[in-house]
């Protein structure tokens, strides 16, 4: 059952909500709260429905319990026993077909298995770069 189906039937459906439901469902994984909130807001403005995780453990719990996730946008370096690469690995293993965008404030990690992700997005990313990344990863997913 998706989150959408859980809403009581009387829930309000406005134009913004309909647009959001039509856009991709993005799982956003970012441990720095201020960055996470800004990114989530940008993604929603771009028409995405956003599910937020503050670390890899939360991301994994959401990945295992949420029916629809189209794209995972995850920071690489996060505190705790697991990082963004672990999240990517789990997505590839358990949710094939889900797009993966890795993000980092540092340089793109050399030696990372290229099959583990679809796109690398350097931080900070402009809204234009974010929108382009969403288009690119969606195209890749649909291209098979």
């Amino acid at each position: 059952m998706t989150i959408a189906q859980s809403r009581p039937t009387a829930a309000r459906r406005g134009p913004a909500n309909e647009a959001a439901e039509a856009g991709p469902v993005v799982l956003l994984v970012e441990d720095e709260a201020l960055i996470r909130w800004d990114l989530a807001e940008e993604l929603r403005q771009l028409g995405c429905q956003v599910i937020e995780a503050g670390n890899a453990e939360e991301a994994i719990a959401l990945l295992r319990s949420t029916a629809r996730i189209d794209i995972v946008l995850t920071d690489i370096d996060m505190p705790g026993p697991h990082d963004g690469l672990d999240v990517a690995q789990l997505v590839r293993a358990e949710r094939p077909g889900t797009g993966i965008v890795l993000t980092s404030g540092r340089l793109r990690p050399v030696g990372t298995n290229a099959e583990l992700f679809d796109l690398f997005l350097p931080k900070p990313a402009s809204t234009g770069a974010l929108a382009q990344a969403l288009r690119d990863v969606t195209a890749r997913r649909q291209g098979g």
């Binding site: 859980s6 009387a10 309000r12 406005g14 201020l34 995780a53 670390n55």
Partner: protein, 127 residues
């Protein structure tokens, strides 16, 4: 309580990401802008932002990281006395609070069932 969801930002604070995510999604769907925090520290960071005016905090009592919901409520009373705090000790209470907030919005006139939210959270948790 008389408020317009379009003008209101709600801060949902819960260490249980599934409960937090479901309740936040429900509140967004009925028109609220929602910020999510997983710890008391994140909640304080949200409340200290100058660019977002949080009107309501819906917080679990037990929070990870050593700051309980009660301590957060106390901090809010001192530093943000205008913010309304709803404390929930269980997902049933949190779901009820979320439902009440949506029902009091101008667009939601029909009855809802908070048990739907609770059941959904339980199912997602595998319980």
């Amino acid at each position: 309580m008389d408020h317009d969801p379009a003008a209101e930002t709600i801060l949902v604070v819960d260490g249980d990401v599934i409960a937090r995510s479901v309740i936040a999604a429900y509140l967004r769907d009925c028109g609220y802008r929602v910020l999510e925090a997983g710890t008391g520290a994140e909640a304080r960071a949200a409340l200290e932002r100058g660019d977002v005016a949080i009107g309501i905090v819906l917080a679990d009592i037990a929070l990870p990281g050593g700051l309980s919901g009660f301590e957060l409520a106390r901090w809010i009373r001192v530093h943000r006395p205008e913010v309304k705090v709803l404390l929930a000790g269980a997902i049933e209470r949190a779901a009820q609070a979320a439902g009440d907030l949506c029902e009091e919005g101008p667009d939601l006139a029909k009855p809802y069932d908070a048990r739907l939210i609770v059941d959904h959270i339980r199912r997602l948790r595998g319980g």
